[in-house]
């Protein structure tokens, strides 16, 4: 068991435990914080896989952006004064059964498949390659995503603002 393996198990553990907590805890704010750990764990896994750029992006976007967004969502949609921050769940058992079976199936699939493994050379840094791919091969998608983001931004603002204007 090499250090690599140890670090992997560590990250995997953090990720899975915090993810489990996210979906099981009743407190929304807690859930959000567990989510933070999950994201960290996933970022670590990326780093382990040699995807340094993705890992950084994961941290910046998820932790810095989406999570903050979610927190804001939590704040705005739960009456802070009542501190009714707990959130219930439904069909716990049924869901657990179905999803358990599903997870079983998924795991079986993962484990039983004979994956074609062809470990390429490990890159020291992936950023220049990703950059050149983005502006060459994927330039159209890249641009489209830029536009999509813009639209999403405007759309989100407009949806969120709509009610206020009517008032």
């Amino acid at each position: 068991m090499s250090l690599y393996d140890v670090i992997f198990y560590l990250f995997a553990l953090v990720t899975l435990v915090s993810a489990f907590m996210v979906v099981t805890t009743k407190n929304i704010v807690h859930a959000a914080f567990y989510l933070l750990f999950t994201f960290f764990g996933v970022a670590g896994i990326y780093a382990l896989l040699g995807a340094d750029f993705i890992a950084v992006v994961q941290l910046m976007v998820y932790v810095g952006g989406i999570l903050v967004l979610i927190l804001f969502g939590v704040m705005l949609t739960n009456k802070i004064t009542n501190v009714q921050i707990r959130s219930g769940s439904t069909n716990l058992v049924a869901a657990a059964v179905v999803i358990g079976i599903f997870a079983g199936a998924l795991l079986t699939m993962m484990l039983n498949t004979r994956w074609l493994v062809n470990p390429g050379k490990t890159l020291i840094t992936t950023i220049p390659q990703i950059g050149s791919l983005l502006v060459k091969q994927y330039v159209l998608i890249f641009e489209l995503l830029g536009i999509l983001l813009l639209i999403a931004l405007v759309g989100a603002a407009s949806i969120a603002r709509k009610e206020e204007r009517e008032k």
């Binding site: 993810a19 989510l35 995807a51 992006v57 967004l69 069909n91 869901a95 999803i99 999403a152």
Partner: protein, 103 residues
Amino acid sequence: MIHVSLTHYLVVSAFLFSFGLYGVVTRKNAVMVLMGIELILNSANINFVAFSKFGNYGLNGQIMALFVIILAAAEAAIALAIVLNIYKTFAHVDVDKINNLKE
């Protein structure tokens, strides 16, 4: 104990996916549902990056992961805006009670 291989990563991602799915299915609060979705997306991303490392496709997998992150950001923004709107309309964000689509 065997060396960490592709399968390990896939198993992690499978668990993450299942947790995310569980969250989406069981939670009442829309924001929590969103969190579940984020988990699912992350699990998919792990697969992408893992295949990118162990597969034969160069950095394309990472690019895809990147795009997914971007889309996730957009989706989160829109979804939260909708949630806000729902809240303004119904004064709660309980997806169980928002079933006006029925009939």
